[in-house]
């Protein structure tokens, strides 16, 4: 299956904040948001201007919901930098970095352009993969970490 657009590009500090937040959240799933620019078609360019670790309002090892107060603060910060909230991440503590049925079902609320990053903590090394979910179709996006 070929990769879809865009390529998600994180710098090393952003990557480390995302992964560290996932380990900090154990045994529960951890989650957060990304801000970045969008093109004229409102598709994210893939560049990430900022990462926002958020609380998991579900406080669960099986599900997550981004705390809406944390989302509001992230949205304000992103707007102050002329960026959009273009995606989010969450951890899978014991499963692969691939969207679950729950992820796909709940993605409808976010539309086809939202970038979902899943961090699997199943193995000793974390696995970080990115997707867009268009209807029932899961499109994988390349992930590049600058300086890794």
């Amino acid at each position: 299956m070929p990769f879809a657009e865009p390529t998600l590009v994180l710098d090393l500090a952003q990557y480390r904040r995302v992964v560290a937040h996932c380990y900090d959240g154990l045994p529960d799933e951890a989650c957060g948001l990304f801000a970045g620019p969008v093109g004229d078609d409102l598709l994210p360019t893939g560049a990430v201007g900022e990462v926002y670790p958020c609380r998991n309002a579900d406080a669960s090892a099986r599900t997550y919901t981004i705390d809406t107060g944390d989302y509001l603060r992230a949205d304000r910060d992103a707007r102050s930098r002329d960026l959009d909230i273009v995606g989010g991440w969450h951890s899978h503590t014991h499963t692969e970095a691939y969207p679950s049925a729950t992820d796909v079902a709940k993605a409808r609320a976010l539309g086809p352009n939202f970038v979902f990053v899943i961090v699997s903590l199943k193995r000793a090394e974390p696995a970080v993969r990115a997707y867009r979910i268009v209807g029932d179709e899961i499109l994988e996006l390349p992930v590049r970490v600058e300086g890794l």
Binding site: R79, K106, F114
Partner: protein, 106 residues
């Protein structure tokens, strides 16, 4: 349509204008804007005015039962309107209404 009013400093009656911040998801149905201005006495009034202007917003804001859609969170300034009076929450001039889709999964 019922619209909220108050008296301006010169005593004239003016409609209450609020800023509505749209998530990226809803920008395509609002001519690409990330924030729009609207008027009303309550959040519901503001949303009905916006839906009149941008009909594509209807499916994303208000559920079939006429209440706030369950996949969307709405803040009036710092407060989640679900803990206020939901769509009947009053708005005042200069308020910022933020629409945030629910980000959730498993």
């Amino acid at each position: 349509m019922r619209v909220g009013f108050h008296r301006g400093m010169d005593g004239k009656v003016v409609a209450m204008a609020v800023e509505v911040r749209l998530p990226t998801l809803l920008r395509p149905v609002a001519d690409g804007s990330s924030s729009v201005s609207a008027e009303g006495e309550t959040v519901g009034d503001v949303f009905r005015q916006l839906i009149g202007r941008y009909p594509g917003l209807a499916d994303n804001l208000i559920g079939e039962d006429g209440s706030l859609h369950k996949f969307v969170n709405v803040y009036r300034n710092d407060d989640d309107i679900r803990y206020l009076d939901a769509l009947d929450t009053k708005v005042a001039d200069g308020d910022v209404i933020s629409i945030l889709p629910a980000v959730a999964g498993g």
